[in-house]
Amino acid sequence: MTAIYSIFGRISETIEKLAAIHRLLPWILAFALLLPLPQILSALFNDYYIYLANKICIFILLSVGLNIVKGFCGQVTVGHVGLYAIGAVSSALISLHFGWSFWLAFPIGILAAGLAGIVVGLPSVRLEGAYLALATLGLGESVRIMIAVTPLFGSSTGLLSIPAPTIGSFTFDSYTNYYYLVLAAAMIGIYLSFSILRSATGRAFMAVREDTVAAAVHGVNVTKYKLLAFVISALYAGAAGGLFAHMPPGYIHHNNFTIIEMVTLLLMIVLGGIGHIWGGIIGAIIVTIIYDQTLEFYFYQPLLFGLTMVLIVIFMPRGIGGMIDRYLATKKFIASQEEKSNAAS
């Protein structure tokens, strides 16, 4: 266990050192390191794991976005899959009906989700806690039902043959090729989440989470930041949706956006560490991998997931991210104390 902790400690130290040289350096390095992942996976295992890597990148976008609104801004939303669905369906529809390229459809899908994010966020201005959860649950489920009953949105058959993105003659139609796209998107998403959350905006989010009155008195426009958090998370969800829709085989169906998906997302951020900057990322990776490894126990798998969620909330409310943080903080504290005693002696 300590070994794992110290690895994380090492990693975070290295990242800090690299960032000191240039703030983009760790990102570029990480991107370069992750770029040949499909080839490595293909050589070590098989092509299925490339598909899984694609899935992880999309889930990272989703859970990082959810963590912003839920973990950092403290708004209890359970309608996130609705925004994901809106992003997916609008991007898919635009490229199917108007024949526009992915590069136009995808941003429009993100924008559509962002607009929907305002709608989902509006209740947050008046409501808190459980009421907000109910309102967002209703909105998310309404989106799914709208998709399920409207033939234009795919209805029962779903939207078929959504074209894969292309650049010139290069087509993102295999999972290896698509990986480059989703990896870039996920890296940009993570990078942006870091810059947002480590800036005044992120601090304002946390202040709103901790105490709305105190935040307002200290000059934080609570309404604005709540809505901003919802919109940012919606943009993330929209991006994830668009990428999911255009991922081969280019098919979306309303049962990809049910409450089960929402629970999986919740599990990701709860396990990774709710309100932890790495929480969504750690959660998305671990949950996707565990999910895949337990596929054979299909009758017990949801039970396992639900139980994990309950137990984590009860016994490990800060998730894995929080545990690592605590370890690092303790270590730092011990080091500083030792330093002090050394200086004294």
Binding site: R23, L192, S195, I196, R198, S199, A200, T201, R203, A204, M206, A207, R209, E210, D211, V213, A214, A215, A216, V217, H218, G219, V220, N221, V222, L228, G275
Partner: protein, 266 residues
């Protein structure tokens, strides 16, 4: 011209009138005390001025020439009114430094968009803010605890952080809601000296609500006495001390002069 002026300030909760027709002028550069028994409307007054509550129609609050009667809390904060809370309301999951940086929020020199498009400038400016906040922490003697979560501090330290967070707003008017409550006498003196130092350094106007009368008597230039939401006395501490109405409202009638003197000086 007073820095803060309230005209016929009233607030009712249901049928209960918590504040009625209150006219208070707080002169720039002064330390103004607000005293009164429990439930006399002191905290309500704070909440009205900082926009946490909306005053009843007909009220008017003017700060530094701006009518802030209907302004939102965050706008009032941006105009230069900072306050602390009786129950502190620190951002307990955030570190001490982060608490202060939230206080600095209205002065943050970049917008949301630049966090996305010009991150390097943001990082630079955040570093500047950080060192500024560290200076402030030095002033209040909390620099060692900068990276500690606020929830892990002792009561006295938490009060200092709350003060620091309010000061980070670079206010013109600092409103302290029972800053000394629950502190030991040594800590009270420490806190008061810090407040005085801050006042000198930043040219503050200070409004103090306090139960420990000694604090008010020793530091304030002017004292306003509230009872049942109405002003029953105002003047210099010495004048107020001798005002019979005040003593009655505040301490009941059965006290003789010696006991009164004791109460005000302890």
């Amino acid at each position: 011209m007073p820095l803060l002026e309230t005209v016929d300030l009233s607030k009712s909760f249901g049928g209960l009138r918590a504040i009625s027709n209150l006219n208070i002028n707080i002169e720039a550069g002064s330390i103004h005390g607000l005293i009164g028994p429990n439930g006399s409307g002191k905290s309500t007054f704070f909440n009205l001025v900082t926009g946490v509550y909306q005053p009843d129609p007909g009220s008017k609050i003017i700060f530094n020439g701006h009518d802030i009667t209907k302004s939102a809390s965050h706008d009032i904060g941006a105009l230069g009114i900072a306050r602390t809370f009786q129950l502190l309301r620190l951002f307990s999951e955030m570190t001490v430094l982060q608490n202060l940086m939230v206080g600095y929020h209205t002065h943050v020199p970049y917008g949301f968009m630049s966090t996305i498009f010009n991150n390097s400038a943001v990082v630079k400016k955040d570093a500047e803010t950080k060192s500024e906040m560290m200076e402030l922490l030095e002033l209040i003697g909390m620099a060692d605890y900068a990276d500690m979560p606020a929830s892990e501090l002792s009561g006295g330290q938490r009060r200092l952080v709350a003060l620091g967070r309010a000061m980070a707003m670079r206010p013109k008017l600092l409103m302290l809601d029972e800053p000394a409550a629950g502190l030991s006498p040594v800590n009270v003196d420490n806190l008061l000296s810090i407040v005085m130092a801050l006042k000198q350094r930043f040219g503050l106007t200070v409004l103090i609500v306090e139960h420990i009368l000694k604090v008010v008597m020793e530091t304030c230039d002017t004292v306003t006495v509230l009872d049942y939401g109405e002003k029953i006395g105002e003047g210099s501490p010495d004048a107020v001390k001798d005002d019979h109405a005040v003593i009655e409202a505040y301490l009941g009638q059965e006290m003789d002069d010696d006991e009164v003197r004791k109460a005000f000086n302890s």
